[in-house]
């Protein structure tokens, strides 16, 4: 097997046993990137210089017998909305094309402190607004399983980089499914943490009350390893929660006997591709060998999750993106004319933002404006209260909830991009976890015609360890990490 298909844990073992130098691992990954990147376009920026520098540093530590971190020498891909000091961070937008952050996001500090190697910054939907990675200013990312199809979004670059063997671990961000959707479409593992478990400091905001940075990997254990490193309270994010440190890798293996699994009927209802529904039920019946008990039940308020999510997300986007004024950083409209503040502001944004970002800013401005605030924004916040109550009831009956990650199989590039509502509807099964702040993980449960199908496990707040355990035990029977695309 090629070295770039090894798991992060395996590559770490080879580094620690000095079978491979970190520098050699970086060389192998960069060669792989050169080999496939023209087809996949997973990266906005490849950090060759910085990667070699860090590699030498970690190699030196190992040779000298000094203590190394949990991610010793592992090449990690970082989504391009997560700030990296002295490495440009674009959000895949023209408006930030040349923006170089003067500071690191907390998660970046944490992975570097554990001796990870940042191999590159990954492509995404502009400002994380999208389901396909087609709205990137730097061109779409392609799905490594079928280059004519979308990789999902918005963390499409991170998922595709993993699926194509261009990284061992990746960071994504998930506002309404942006980790889980591309993980599902690209056949990898992705976890959205409980709101507040991971610091958002340095994550360029889209809808800050929903989003979390989370781990992505080709195996569940690797995903748990990265979560162990990035989780934890941070004084710089006032919404982060004080939780005792936890090692998510320990306790992955174990019995699932008597685990109670609920399948919300609304998540497998009309409109969901029958191939996806079949894959989910086939998967759940295979869990019976672990003596898991499952049943379908109804979560009726789920039908209101999508409009509530989009109205709040767009409202927050219109406010968060007001900072892009062309004055302190980012693209600025230039002319010899004597334009005033408002003209420069409006024209910089006209030229700097893409179509989907503009659409969401206008809709968000509308939902927040006088006369519509109560009807849309406040109504949505109240709807969350009702949905949250339904979930709390559900978690009294069930340990975990299971459903499809995406209601459809990966579709063709260009197929839905001109129909925004059709794209929003693809998020129907992922947004509930963001609305109520609970953790959710996706992993491939089946393949159809060579395309991966993801299944989603949701847990009560801070039950990351439980959903990871379900994923880990499932991986033992499904063995999905053995399958890689031919590129």
């Amino acid at each position: 097997m090629k070295v770039y298909w090894l798991s992060a844990q395996e590559i770490k073992q080879k580094i620690l046993s000095q079978e491979l130098k970190v520098e050699e691992v970086v060389q192998i990954v960069l060669e792989r990137i050169r080999e496939v990147e023209e087809k996949v376009n997973a990266f906005v920026t490849v950090c060759e210089k910085e990667a070699f520098q860090k590699a030498k540093e970690v190699d030196k530590k190992i040779v000298e017998g000094r203590k190394v971190g949990l991610l010793a020498g592992i090449p990690v891909a970082v989504k391009d909305n997560i700030s990296t000091r002295n490495i440009r961070t674009t959000c895949s937008s023209k408006i930030l094309e040349n923006y170089v952050p003067p500071f690191n996001a907390t998660v970046v500090e944490k992975i570097l402190a554990e001796d990870a190697v940042i191999i590159g910054k990954t492509n995404m939907d502009e400002f994380a607004m999208g389901t396909t990675t087609e709205t990137s200013f730097f061109g779409p990312t392609k799905n490594p399983w079928d280059l004519t199809r979308v990789p999902g979004g918005s963390s499409g670059g991170s998922a595709a980089a993993l699926a194509a063997g261009e990284a061992f671990l990746a960071l994504g961000s998930d506002t309404g499914g942006s980790i889980r959707c591309p993980a599902s479409f690209c056949g990898v593992v992705g976890l959205k943490p409980t709101y507040g478990l991971v610091s958002r400091y340095g994550l360029i905001a889209y809808a800050n009350t929903f989003e979390q940075i989370g781990p992505m990997a080709r195996t569940t254990a690797d995903c748990a390893l990265l979560l162990t490193v990035i989780a934890g309270w941070d004084w710089r994010d006032s919404t982060s929660i004080e939780t005792p440190p936890k090692n998510y890798v320990e306790g992955l293996a174990g019995s699932l006997k008597k685990l109670k699994v609920g399948i919300p009927r609304e998540m497998v209802a009309e409109g969901v591709d029958e191939k996806v529904v079949k894959a989910v039920f086939d998967y759940v019946s295979r869990l019976e060998e672990f003596e898991v008990e499952w049943e379908e039940f109804s979560l009726p308020t789920l039908n209101y999750a999508l409009p509530a999510y989009y109205l709040i997300a767009m409202s927050e986007a219109s406010s968060n993106l007001a900072r892009f004024d062309g004055i302190r950083y980012g693209y600025r409209f230039s002319s010899d004319g004597n334009l005033d503040w408002n003209d420069v502001f409006s024209k910089s944004r006209k030229e700097g933002f893409g179509a989907e970002v503009k659409r969401r800013i206008i809709l968000g401005t509308y939902a927040l404006s006088a006369g519509y605030y109560g009807k849309f924004f406040l109504k949505s916040l109240k709807t969350i209260t009702l949905i949250k109550k339904d979930f709390e009831e559900a978690f009294k009956r069930f340990d975990v909830l299971v459903g499809p990650t995406m209601p459809v199989l990966p579709f063709k590039l260009g197929e839905k991009i001109n129909d925004p509502l059709a794209l929003y509807l693809c998020d129907i099964d992922t947004v509930p976890a963001n609305l109520v702040g609970i953790p959710a993980i996706t992993f491939p449960c089946s393949f159809y015609d060579g395309l991966p199908i993801g299944v989603q496990i949701m847990g009560a707040p801070f039950k990351e360890d439980l959903i990871l355990k379900v994923a880990y035990m499932s991986e033992k029977i499904l063995q999905f990490s053995r399958f890689n695309p031919n590129l």
């Binding site: 004055i327 944004r349 206008i362 009807k375 109504k379 109240k382 509502l421």
Partner: protein
């Protein structure tokens, strides 16, 4: 009223774009008016759910106010803060005229 302007009119879209300081082309105004009406038609299903006497949720995990000591921390140096400015003069951001 035309169906395509049932929820939001073209002139409203123009006004919202002005509020958001976001210049739109004529084509964009046409396209967004049509698309936003279609999207709002779907979003209107929220009116079906009864939220009378239901309080709004602001922080899902239930955090309210967060305080810390007001201590001086290291912050960005002027040169670093200005590094990304499209236009600067001495140690200032250069902005277009306001009045």
């Amino acid at each position: 009223m035309e169906k395509r302007e049932k929820h939001i009119s073209r002139s409203q879209v123009e006004h919202l774009a002005w509020l958001a300081r976001l210049e739109l082309t004529e084509e964009e105004k046409e396209l967004y008016t049509a698309q936003l009406n279609e999207i709002l038609e779907y979003f209107n299903r929220l009116s079906e759910i009864n939220t009378e006497n239901v309080p709004p949720t602001y922080h899902v995990i239930g955090k309210v106010n967060v305080f810390r000591e007001d201590e001086i921390q290291p912050s960005l140096q002027v040169e670093e803060a200005l590094k990304n400015a499209p236009k600067k003069r001495n140690s200032f951001f250069e902005a277009p005229k306001i009045l």
